[in-house]
């Protein structure tokens, strides 16, 4: 797999993530909680982590939040989302790389969702300089369990499918 192929594939992944984020914001949630999201675009970051590794995963995550800021135009949500993207990507990488014997992709994705929420709440604490916002974290963690479970489940299918139909992606070590 050549460098150009990889670049195109990564930019495709970023655009899929963007489309998912935009679609996701149109889906109403059954519970009214600010900050609780489905996290569909986390799927893209997880798949990138599995297929291309840590460097490209964090690249996709950061690009996704940056371009999403340009689409939605809200800078404050960009600060929340990029910190969440970085922390969740780092923790998901650690969980996938070193603990993949213990966790399946579902567990990895739950770790990522929880880390994303934790980073978001921490940034809110720093921005509003009020530690009491941490009292909101337990609710967000419970919600992140559900979203993380389904994101992990769908990522499992995606990775299986990619392994079957895009074998070229998984033979990268020899050519790059």
């Amino acid at each position: 797999m050549r460098k150009t192929n990889k670049m195109i594939f990564i930019s495709l992944l970023v655009s899929v993530g963007l489309a998912l984020s935009v679609i996701e914001s149109a889906i109403p949630l059954p519970i009214a909680m600010p900050g609780a999201r489905l996290g569909l675009s986390n799927m893209v970051v997880l798949v990138t982590l599995v297929v291309f590794g840590f460097k490209d995963g964090i690249k996709v995550g950061m690009l996704k939040s940056t371009v999403l800021m340009l689409i939605t135009g809200s800078v404050s949500s960009f600060i929340y989302s990029i910190s969440g993207a970085i922390l969740s990507c780092v923790l998901m990488h650690i969980a996938y790389r070193y603990f993949s014997r213990i966790f399946s992709l579902i567990g990895v994705s739950i770790v990522g969702a929880a880390a994303h929420n934790f980073a978001q709440v921490s940034v809110a604490v720093m921005m509003l300089s009020n530690t009491r916002i941490y009292s909101y974290l337990p609710f967000l963690l419970l919600v992140s369990l559900f979203s993380g479970y389904f994101v992990g489940l769908s990522s499992t299918y995606i990775v299986e499918n990619l392994k079957k139909n895009f074998r070229v992606l998984f033979s990268r070590q020899e050519t790059i």
């Binding site: 603990f99 966790f103 009292s135 974290l137 963690l141």
Partner: protein, 126 residues
Amino acid sequence: MTKGDKILVLFIVLLSFLSFAYINRYAFSEQEKFISVQVNGEEIKKILFDQQLVGHTIPVETEFGYNLIEIGDGQVRVIEADCPDKIDVKQGYISRIGETIVCLPNKLVVEIKGESGEDDIDIMNY
């Protein structure tokens, strides 16, 4: 779902419930707010809420007039006043940080304040 996943899920559920219980018990106790009684702009009394003070009344007798304040469970009201329109009596209980009862003829302000002043969040926006 492997075994590790299930343990992780259990761990997060336990963690969130435990921290929720902890927060409910300690972080938001009623001790953090107090009643501030001000006459003519000066704070003359500062009362912390306490279970033993429920039903207790405090007379405020100044050169401007007379009011009787009653303390409830985390709330406070004015029950007697010698001002003509008795707006302060009609207002009833106040309980949240930042709420006030004002009696203009007697220059009396009863306010509920928090320990750390302006830390109460008005609104959160994402």
